[in-house]
Subunit: 361 residues, 2 copies
Amino acid sequence: MELSERKKKVLAAVVEEYIRTAEPVGSKTVVAAAGLTCSSATIRNELSELTSLGYLEQPHTSAGRIPAAQGYRFYVNELMEQRRLSDEETDTINDRLNHRLEKPEQLMGDAGRLVGQLTGYPAVALSGPRALTVTRFDLLYVDANTFIIVLLLSNSTVRNKLVKLPFSVDSTLITKLSALFNAGFTNLTDSEITPVLISATERAARDNMGLTSIVAAFVIEVLNSGSSGEAMITGESSLLQHPEFRDPDKAHRVISYLSDSEHLMSLPATTVNGGSSKVRMIIGPENLAEELKDSSVIMAEYDAGEGQRGLIGVVGPTRMDYSAVAAKLSYVAEGLSRLLGSGEAPAGFGKMILKGDTIDE
Amino acid sequence: MELSERKKKVLAAVVEEYIRTAEPVGSKTVVAAAGLTCSSATIRNELSELTSLGYLEQPHTSAGRIPAAQGYRFYVNELMEQRRLSDEETDTINDRLNHRLEKPEQLMGDAGRLVGQLTGYPAVALSGPRALTVTRFDLLYVDANTFIIVLLLSNSTVRNKLVKLPFSVDSTLITKLSALFNAGFTNLTDSEITPVLISATERAARDNMGLTSIVAAFVIEVLNSGSSGEAMITGESSLLQHPEFRDPDKAHRVISYLSDSEHLMSLPATTVNGGSSKVRMIIGPENLAEELKDSSVIMAEYDAGEGQRGLIGVVGPTRMDYSAVAAKLSYVAEGLSRLLGSGEAPAGFGKMILKGDTIDE
DNA sequence: GTTGGCACTCCGTTTCTCTGAGTGCTAATT
DNA sequence: AATTAGCACTCAGAGAAACGGAGTGCCAAC
């Protein structure tokens, strides 16, 4: 059943008033807020119907209405108006993002802090898994007991490891191994690096000291580390400022749930996508995690380059200004896509161009 | 004026009871807890004197006493008994630490989580500044527009950067630069890397494309990054479980103060060292930061190798079990010193020895 | 110096009342 | 059939009052 025009107006008014005031909304308030011409008694009937349809709920008999999860969902899908950001807001965002262009490895954290500051909610930043391979190997001989493994990865980052050995090796073995790895291990995903391949390489190098397996183990570790993605959260404590988290136990449950990066990565699992936009919203009970059943998550997707996608978003009470937060997030996400996105590296002489740096965690 | 033996006993009893129950302690409770033979009236006199001496305070006229900051201080300096850890506890700690030996770059974080778990308080980990130098340079030519800078540092970590250029370079220039940097820039602290040196190198390499300054800038950045130390905090939300942080505003103030790593690094500024032990305690108002005037900080120092020192500790309410926390922290700190400490690298064949890995943040 | 006794204080809790916003229903109106 | 005015009813939250009890401070006796 489709809601009547007036019901939609009433629902929107209740949601917006409740978001603004955090108080249950009564019939008179709705009349005033929605600018309707009918009387409060009429609205009482409408409210009553919206309640039995499941869009609203009543904390107790003689109180106003508050939106139910279904009410929020309908609101964000159908009723909510796209909020435009003010010039001031867009300027702040652009400023902050450009500032950080030079330190790509800190970008996730900085974007999180920016979002936290803009919205007043804890910010989460996720980067998707990536199918990594090694593009190039270098083994650097330092001294008889020490060498460095340097891997250039397919996503243009570099990883390295210093290896100290409890025995001596000859620099020619290092050189030989380096050549063999370059020949045999480049452009392989971790599943393609088989024990057979490793022992073949070991024989070819006449390595009887286990160096081959040291290098191979590091390669596998690095390739694996990318495959699960990264997750971080900043500004958890700002939750405490919101009235729905005044209860320290509840706040503690939510915050400590969010402190585990495994949990963060599973946040977007519920992909109720409310339309064509790139902003995802997970409202209250739509969250899979019990701990978040009365919190909402809003995330915007961005292009992290090299075919990788990332998500940046916030966690807050169900009573959130979805419209404003969504607008801010998608603007930030667009900015990130512009900075990191596939397409060409930014050009410019004298200023060096860095794409990557190591992102050892 | 020296306190009488009985006053000491009374003070200790009040502190310990209050730590245990979080309730003001009355005269009768003291008699029972301290196992004294006198009557509660006598203790009331003692309590009254301890109060006017500033060791105790009274929330209101008809309540028991709670320790004042000065009381806690006297307690930890003079009265507190060294707590011994149970075998079970030491086993847990050893287990957890050894597990992580293989990932030195995550050690700070892991140690923090361990401490948080052991004590139930947020854990902070600090590593002191280090006077870094570059031990060895490698510039790896990848293609005409790309090369990698690899630096082996004096603390046996490796840093690297991938540089993409908007113009072409010859591999011989890269090789030449590599040699020049090895000859001229090794073992220099950041202040010794002068513009004069850089431009001399630039001329020597016949580098008219600014590569020298790109490399030098990276070197300076890396050397600087070590000079301020690192700081991190985990488990902030566990503060919320303690009754003194039931007020969400207070909790928010403290937690958001602690979320700034600048603030964390300034924590140990007050070095009231209560004796010979390596555990530092900062009790309530001894904290310089207004935000921490009624929290306490306990930190233990450890040897992070290469002459570097680190601190691991917790932040909690002034009402903390100083004895137990101090014992746990110093055990963990000893463990860390054993793992990282100067002296020899742990030996063992087959298991590779890694000292460092990159710690790009 | 120590102790028992006693009046007094004052916090935290419970109980009660009161108030007012808001509802749901009915009957009249359009 | 939809809307409206009117009215009785509900109930959370605020405030006032009463209560209980842990604990003190002091005094007089030991």
